[in-house]
Symmetry: C2
Subunit: 371 residues, 2 copies
């Protein structure tokens, strides 16, 4: 703490992103990245970009990318906002729509950046709990609120809400903005983008970091009523005029245009997910139904943190959250088929070792930590 | 205005960046970009980057770029903060340091983004006026403040303060953060970075958009006491964990490492500036002494807005601010030598046409607008 920090800065509890280890040969299943590279058309577009142009500012309005997204999602360009990853889009949205007298609502178990934005922008919030099956119960959300946000599918649970449930919420919640954060929607859900023309208070946020294999390029976007987008533009143009650089814009346009590659890589991930879920079940894990590129899974007889540490020793990194209600779960990103197979081999070894040492009562280091 | 915007969003007056026209064959002297391309080493580094890695998140800590900047400026890595252009660095700094009970101080004529950040983050401010020669008079800044920020050299005037004046300010202003915004320092000034180890409340902000020819990559940074940097990191990690994408990081490191190219391109710009200033003087312009890659110039007998429009007709774009005290000035970016020569030819034509029509009293369209 420095005396030069603002009181606001002193009170912050920053978001902690998943680790980006600088070690080789890791199987990295901790940050929900796509295991497959970006579309070859993305590579070709970047290779074809005249790098001399980097001397100029990018288009502050990002028209090329907005147009590509508008065409893809069949909306108007003025219904599209783009930003430096969906995190920036979300942050700016909190300022534009959620800085209200009434509290913002989001689930108790959800993307852990939401309360961080609230602290930063001094927004009051309430967290209606997920039910026991880790489902968001939108019926329990009071309409007397300053806004509602939830991921669909939710993170880190992976559970999906149907569009009918979202419509039902929007029918009764007309006076505040509802943001559906669809970072993972392409792995098994139906996007609420098809509802934006019906509900002027609905904003749908997506990212290129997951299904488009472009986490390294930082591209996110929002689609909604043109007036919501205008509000976002006002806030963005009061903070940073050019958040997307030229190469990110170039990559984004090429990625959205390659539908064939997109369909094939997301299908591979869905297939590996289904395979992994079945294998985990054989090992005795309970897995929350997932519509994402990760699974949220627990073993009734083995401590999650111990498994997490044992996997790490074997150079496999998954994510573990030491938080109430979910501290017995692991969040495992779906890697390539080879990677999830290696994970299953390692889990068999870890669980087997634990059983053996338990039954033979030999006190090894592993056994101790596994109790 | 939408009923869904927050009260804050309604009250904003967003920054208006210089135009990025999508027309070919323009001579673009309006946004202080570098007319020379980035270093060939930047191009080589991007070409050599394995684009498959874009599937992964970038390093949220940007260690490679911080280290390159630390080495270059002879400070420790923990004294370096990097962001998505210096605009983002400044925005985050306002939240980290200037959100105080007392007002922030900055000049009345300066970078027009400062009051925009203040609106966005609800920061009170005062604007001590530049003197008649457009100099910042730091002696006139009261120490009872919530912070001080000024560009050095100042924009859009181009005037430079010496380090002795900045030291004098820092000697008496010990209780609030002083930010020196050095976007243009490489074109003729001495950086205050050499003072950061002496003054724990000094933060120096720079950009890769001007002297490094990387406006299209969005890279900015700040150097100061490690505690100030930690405060900035807290705010950044409460807003957007990964504001710099992988290719921007790659470009930034390569740019900072190529000292030879940097020296040669900035010298070319300085030479063209001195040439242009002399030519403008011959044409009767008064030019504020510039230590930047632009000049701020007025003609005592010709209206600035008219010259601006006439230049535009000739496909030369400069910047005109319709604001008190400076509405008779043009801000002209230093282009290539060829571009500034074309500008001088156009100005001769515009001024000559005006004189001729005036003396012969023939009412042409140009003459009308030039009165």
């Amino acid at each position: 703490m420095s005396r030069f920090w603002s009181e606001l800065a002193r009170g912050l509890e920053p978001y902690v992103p998943g680790e980006q280890p600088k070690v080789a040969d890791l199987i990295k299943l901790n940050t929900n990245e796509n295991p497959y590279p970006p579309s070859p058309k993305v590579m070709a577009a970047i290779d074809g970009f005249d790098l001399e142009n980097l001397k100029l500012y990018p288009d502050p309005n990002c028209d090329s990318l907005k147009q590509a997204l508008a065409d893809y999602h069949q909306v108007e360009r003025k219904q599209v906002f783009v930003g430096n990853g969906s995190d920036e889009v979300l942050g700016l949205s909190f300022l534009a729509f959620f800085k209200q007298a009434k509290p913002l609502l989001f689930p108790d178990i959800t993307y852990s950046f939401y309360p961080v934005y609230c602290k930063l922008f001094e927004i009051d919030y309430q967290q209606p709990p997920l039910n026991e099956a880790f489902e968001i119960d939108l019926q329990a959300y009071p309409t007397d609120n300053g806004g509602i946000i939830f991921p669909n599918p939710n993170a880190p649970t992976g559970r999906l809400l149907g569009l009918n449930e979202i419509s039902t919420l929007l029918e009764r919640n007309r006076d505040s903005v509802v943001i559906v954060d669809e970072a993972y929607i392409d792995f098994g859900g139906e996007s609420a983008i098809k509802l934006v023309n019906q509900y002027p208070n609905l904003l749908v946020v997506q990212t290129f970091s997951k299904s488009r294999s472009l986490a390294g390029s930082r591209v996110g976007f929002a689609i909604g009523d043109a007036e919501l987008i205008e509000g976002l533009e006002r806030v963005k143009n009061s903070f940073n005029s050019y958040p997307l650089d030229m190469l990110a814009l170039t990559a984004g346009v090429a990625a959205i245009e390659d539908k064939t590659y997109f369909e094939s890589s997301r299908q591979k991930i869905i297939d590996s997910r289904e395979w992994l879920v079945a294998e985990l079940e054989k090992l005795g894990f309970d897995t929350v139904p997932s519509a994402t590129n990760f699974v949220f899974s627990r073993h009734p007889k083995h401590d999650a943190e111990v498994i997490f540490k044992e996997l790490r020793k074997r150079k496999i990194i998954v994510r573990y959250f030491s938080k109430p209600r979910i501290d017995q779960y692991l969040r495992i990103t779906i890697g390539t088929q080879q990677e999830v197979e290696a994970l299953v081999v390692a889990l068999k070894e870890i669980l087997g070792a634990a059983k053996k040492t338990k039954s033979s009562n030999v006190s090894t280091r592993i056994a101790e930590t596994l109790v």
